[in-house]
Amino acid sequence: MARQQGWFALILALAIAAGALLVSFPLQLGLDLRGGSQLTLQVLPAGSIRSVQKEQLEAVKDVLERRINGLGVAESTLQTVGDDQLVLQLPGEQDPSRAAKVLGTTALLEFRAQRPGTEQEMTGLLKLKRQAQAVLNQSQVKAAAIANGQPVPPAVSIKAEELAEALTQLGISVPPGSSETEQLGLLLSTVNTKIVALYDPAELTGKDLTSAGRQQQQTGTGWEVTLAFNSEGGKKFAELTKGIAGTGRLLGIVLDGRSISEATVGPEFKPAGISGGAASITGNFTADEARDLEVQLRGGSLPLPVKLIEVRTVGPSLGAENIRSSLIAALSGLALVAVFMVVVYRLPGVVSVLALSLYSLFNLAVYALIPVTLSLPGIAGFILSIGMAVDANVLIFERVKEELRSGNTLIRSIDTGFSLAFSSILDGHVTGLISCAALFALGTGLVKGFAVTLAIGLLLSLFTALTCTRTLLRLLMSYPGLRRSTYFVPAAQLPASAS
């Protein structure tokens, strides 16, 4: 009996430890339970890189982390998932559009000089760009003017035939039935790529930046982004500007292959170029756009492009509703199983309910310890594992009953029951764990979470069924008053000699 008491002390100690653990480390709830946004980004191989390696994934993660910090979002987490994915969680965030914009682009900034002999083509393209932009931006300009109490500027429009001519000139085929706004958008993006084609390859990129900032434009209503170069970048910038100063050729600032600003460099910079290691981009940004670009430039450009493949946003009241309903389901599931066990198995049924409660307690403690972030499917896995955890108890008790029916003594029946049931319990749990391993290795986010909770449940149920149930039952059997076969099996099923 001393050995049973030792086991009992261990189980008691574990239960207390689990309780203390749950109090000091609260469970982590997933975004589907607390509300918030989750963004999944896939890193795409590009250029000479065929498949994404671990170091490249980490490098992308570093840049994204710097950008997230720049956004100033509280308690966000960024984790790598699998070989080429990153998951960003923004608890409490209801509108992930800014995060999506800032994280989803490469932000490769290039400074490129215009090729000689392309001046005429450039002038035409720039005129088209200005026209299209003016029409597209006018609703914005109008709103700003009304907000500031300034007179509303006259409406700008582009003649239909002029637009059509420009489109055919650039070789753009317009999808039938598209609106003017769509056509202008198409025109603008084509013009921007054509402008980029008129530049020399980049000598200076965002790599040579030391910092970025933003300020309101001195003229006009827009914002500009200020840049500071490191010493090498400063030198390159001076050389670049020296080469085109006074020629009428432009300095292009290209972001992710789109021309965002074209600047002239005056003849006064002919001797030494623009020195001092600073520059600014006047791209007619709104305040938000300027801030986002600043964050991106400070964080650096991504070594590989990323693509947003999944966005999930859950409102806080929906999350609370999910918690409530799954809690009710879990508790009523437990209660149903408990009633069933006590009615069918009597005294050992009570023991199994105790063991089941210990199982639930240990389970939650392990979730808090690892920590496992509890999501809705995770909770479903937990509820399901309650039902499966009882399976082991049922197997054992059925065996005990059988032994009793064939006339064995109580204590011997219990021991034989446990040892005979062991092999099927083990097989069942091992096959379950095999499925979990397959799910975990090959599944994605949601599926993985389910596999982890189910695997923890299986391991713990093996422990509670074989240790807790057995110890508690043996301990109870040390009280002679409880040592009665009729507490296990109805008297009618017992052979005459044993009852």
């Binding site: 509300g35 509108d95 559009s97 929906l318 389901a329 509820i383 039902g387 399976d391 064939s406």
Partner: protein
Amino acid sequence: MSSTPSIAPAPRFRISRHRILAWWGSGLACLLSLIGLLMCWFNPAIGAPLRPGLDFTGGTQIQLERACGVSCSALSSAQIQQPVARLQLPAEPGTPAPNLASAAVQVLDQGRSLVLRLPAVNPEQAAAVVAAVREVAGPLNASGTAVDTIGPTLGDQLLKGSLLSLLVSFAAIALYITFRYDRIFAGLALLCLAHDVLITCGVFAWLGLLSGIEVDSLFAVSLITVAGYSVTDTVVVFDRIREQKTLLAGLPMSEQVDVAVDATLTRSLYTSLTTLLPLVALIFFGGSTLFWFAVALTVGIAVGSWSSIGIAPTLLPLFSRR
């Protein structure tokens, strides 16, 4: 071997006597399931054995709650659908804005909540759609909004990952049983497993055909759980057959099977019951997200315990060379 009757009393229930009935029942269920899957596949609106949900097709689902309590004005889905279809979305540089003409709108809870299904849009575009709905439907409860966007590549990955993990776990379980028991047992356990998974899929194929129920990644999870459970259940019966092998060596295989099934029958029924009880709780109280997941598991586990009693043991005499 002194007194066989005392170790194995004559079984009260002889499964072998009902085996033709059991095979017919399961065969019919499998056939119906196959028909359902094929009808889904050849249905031009579905084009796959099961009606794939957002998780697999990719797209955006927006769930909205109107902030009008009980006094919600009546709203038809067409009232929402038209302005959404006409909406000019803010374009993302480099990609054309998605076409919303195919947007589908569902009005639920007497007009209190709305579910929109769109092609995949980015968060900014989703916000524009919500704003457009607000103009028609009135104020919305921001904390009751859920937006899910799944890119088409992810759905593909998910599908491949789910199928692969299903196959790999099949193979690993077969290996384990071969190692612990023998090849025939492993083959029968896999047959049962295929039977259980097929019927669960069949039920959802019919649900998809008749009432438009879609399968999501949780369905894939439930299939794998059902597979694991099915094997666990079958193994218990096999374990008993193996245990009795030396004791009952004189009896024909079908008698041995009867004894084993009879001895484990109560246990099989009780363990299915204890697993089904929490699932029933999930169906009734678990909320809409987990409803179909719980239904899939309930079907799978019920079928799984049937096949472990009626199919795997009754087929054993056919394959075992005594």
